[in-house]
């Protein structure tokens, strides 16, 4: 329950690669809701929440770009100091969940954080039962639209 699909693309460090991905998504009406770009010396990893992850994967594949879908949790973080810390405490300390990476996206009323863990479903359950909101897939893909 309540996990959403993240679209991830492995990017070799060569000129124009990022542009190719973004252009392909744009030309095919796949809207990017949130993104994070991690870089290493050798390659980059582009992680995105998009309006239609499956379509995103297909249109990228059609131009020869390999991407993957990963289930992640999109946590709603209220605009109050200490909310993220509280949520992390519930997950990591009380729940024993290992957070692989995290990035934020803004959506007006409150902030949101995308979390990648080994157990996305359980992470969502813990957050919900601790009183936090998580995005449902349908709403998340259309956020800020």
């Amino acid at each position: 329950m309540s996990t959403i699909q993240q679209l991830s693309v492995f990017l070799e460090n060569r000129e124009g690669r990022l542009d190719e991905v973004l252009t392909t998504l744009g030309n095919n009406d796949v809207n990017i809701v949130a993104l994070s770009l991690a870089d290493t010396t050798e390659y980059g990893m582009l992680r995105m929440i998009v309006s239609d992850p499956q379509k995103g994967k297909e249109v990228l594949r059609a131009v020869g770009i390999t991407s993957m879908l990963t289930p992640v949790v999109a946590l709603r973080v209220p605009h109050a100091t200490g909310s993220l810390s509280k949520a992390m405490h519930c997950l990591v300390v009380d729940g024993g969940i290992n957070v692989e990476y995290m990035y934020a996206f803004a959506n007006g009323k409150d902030a949101s954080a995308v979390l990648k863990t080994d157990e996305p479903e359980r992470a969502a359950e813990i957050l919900v039962s601790s009183g936090f909101g998580v995005w449902e897939a349908d709403e998340a893909y259309k956020a800020n639209c």
């Binding site: 993240q6 492995f10 991690a38 290493t40 050798e42 390659y43 992680r47 390999t66 990963t70 692989e100």
Partner: protein
């Protein structure tokens, strides 16, 4: 795929392929005596070489005298380009074929009609070894033209009475369509292209639409692991066919279902394995350079032609019943070998190591650079889509794993660069595996 315990072995020419060692040696001796007489006084290169060695045709009494004869190298052929080695008058020549010309000027070889017949017969023996009969349909995606691959397999299919589908190389989509529509039961191409076909077949989801049961692959070195991978994806049996234009083309040797070495058609091609530096014969099972003498060829007979391929030889009778000598799968070529920081590296070693890992596909590229007077070897490896991860930690772990497997296999530290799937160029002919950026001249 048929396992070797359920396999029905067919032997096209039991007399030639199963004769005793003594019988074969007598036949080879007789043919060698005849060969020397055919070239002496006719081919200036051999006449001069023999005179310089104080040899006369009568000094060659049997196959055991072969060591007295001079060598022939690719450079000798180039110096006598194009027709300096002809041993028959012009009107006897039926056709020419050439090398793929991977290194500079091409080597062109002439054939009489009998040469073409012997060649076709040898390929037909190979196709039979792969379990094929006149009932079969052989899809040939080797290039047709000067290159011996396409024509050679075609001549073999003709002799066998099978249906040849002369596709030539390229346009993978069309290859798959024809394979399926024409009901091909076997195909022939380079192993790297076979791997590419296998991937394309799997991706298009058409493996089960195919009637293919055998793949006959050669013209470049490949590993057992790569054969198994192609066999597994396509659910077929694959065979390693060997040959070279100078000697005739594909069909000089092929491995049988037991895959314990490649059976040399030694009634036509006499193999020797010689020490790389002393040029003396090495012991049975020891590695050296493969040298061939063409016993039957009329138009351009070659004596002790140095192939630069490294192998070992086994004279024991094979489980399949053939007594023909078997050469081991190639350990590389004397000119493929790269010396990196003083260590001998063959691209096939990298392939074996990578295929042992499982998370990568056997498409790779070795790049050798020289930085601050130090050789640096970078191996570009494609990550298998199934093992792809969006976690940098996991990708780094994979990179380190590949690095340590390669370091172990080569005895050399290696930079591993993971690249996106399908980004290393797929070749439709011979795969390019090494880019050497060192300027050592």
């Amino acid at each position: 795929m048929i396992t070797d315990d359920r396999w029905t072995e067919r032997i096209r020419d039991p007399k030639a392929e199963c004769m005793s060692r003594d019988e074969r040696a007598a036949l080879q001796g007789e043919k060698l005596r005849d060969l020397v007489k055919r070239v002496y006084g006719v081919v200036p290169f051999y006449t001069e070489k023999m005179k310089a060695l104080g040899l006369e045709p009568g000094d060659i009494k049997g196959i055991e005298d072969i060591g007295k004869l001079p060598f022939t190298t690719k450079e000798d052929l180039r110096e006598n380009y194009p027709f300096g080695f002809l041993a028959v008058p012009n009107e006897k020549i039926a056709r020419v074929q050439g090398t793929s010309g991977t290194t500079g000027k091409l080597t062109v070889m002439a054939y009489t009609q009998k040469d073409v017949d012997v060649w076709g017969e040898c390929v037909a023996r190979c196709l039979t070894m792969a379990g094929l009969t006149a009932e079969d349909r052989i899809h040939v995606c080797y290039g047709y033209g000067l290159f011996t691959g396409g024509m050679g397999l075609d001549f073999g299919a003709q002799k066998l009475g099978a249906m040849a589908i002369p596709m030539s190389a390229g346009n993978t989509k069309r290859q798959l369509m024809c394979m399926e529509d024409f009901g091909a039961t076997a195909f022939a191409c380079t192993p790297s292209y076979a791997m590419h076909l296998a991937e394309a077949m799997a991706e298009a989801g058409v493996v089960d639409h195919m009637k293919i049961k055998a793949g006959v692959c050669g013209a470049e070195p490949w590993t057992v692991e790569m054969r198994k991978k192609i066999e597994e994806i396509m659910k077929i049996n694959c065979f390693d066919i060997y040959g070279l234009c100078e000697i005739t083309g594909p069909g000089v040797a092929m491995d049988c279902i037991h895959h314990e070495g490649l059976h040399v058609h030694a009634d036509h091609f006499y193999p020797e394995v010689l020490d790389v530096s002393t040029h003396e014969p090495v012991g049975e099972g020891e590695t050296g350079e493969l040298v061939f003498t063409t016993l039957s060829k009329e138009a351009v007979p070659l004596i002790r032609y140095r192939t630069k391929d490294l192998t070992s030889i086994n004279y024991e009778t094979c489980k399949c019943g053939r007594t023909t000598p078997r050469i081991s799968k190639f350990k590389g070529r004397t000119d493929d070998m790269k010396v990196i920081r003083g260590v001998n590296v063959f691209p096939t070693q990298v392939e074996t190591a990578l295929l042992g890992i499982g998370e990568v596909i056997p498409h790779y590229l070795l790049i050798i650079d020289r930085e601050n007077n130090m050789d640096v070897l970078t191996v570009m490896v494609e990550v298998d889509e199934k093992f792809f991860s969006d976690e940098i930690r996991k990708l780094d772990a994979l990179r380190n794993k590949i690095g340590s497997v390669l370091r172990e296999a080569l005895g050399l530290s290696v930079r591993v660069k993971l690249v996106e799937p399908k980004t290393i160029e797929r070749s439709e002919g011979k795969a390019k595996r090494v880019i050497d950026n060192r300027n050592l001249v």
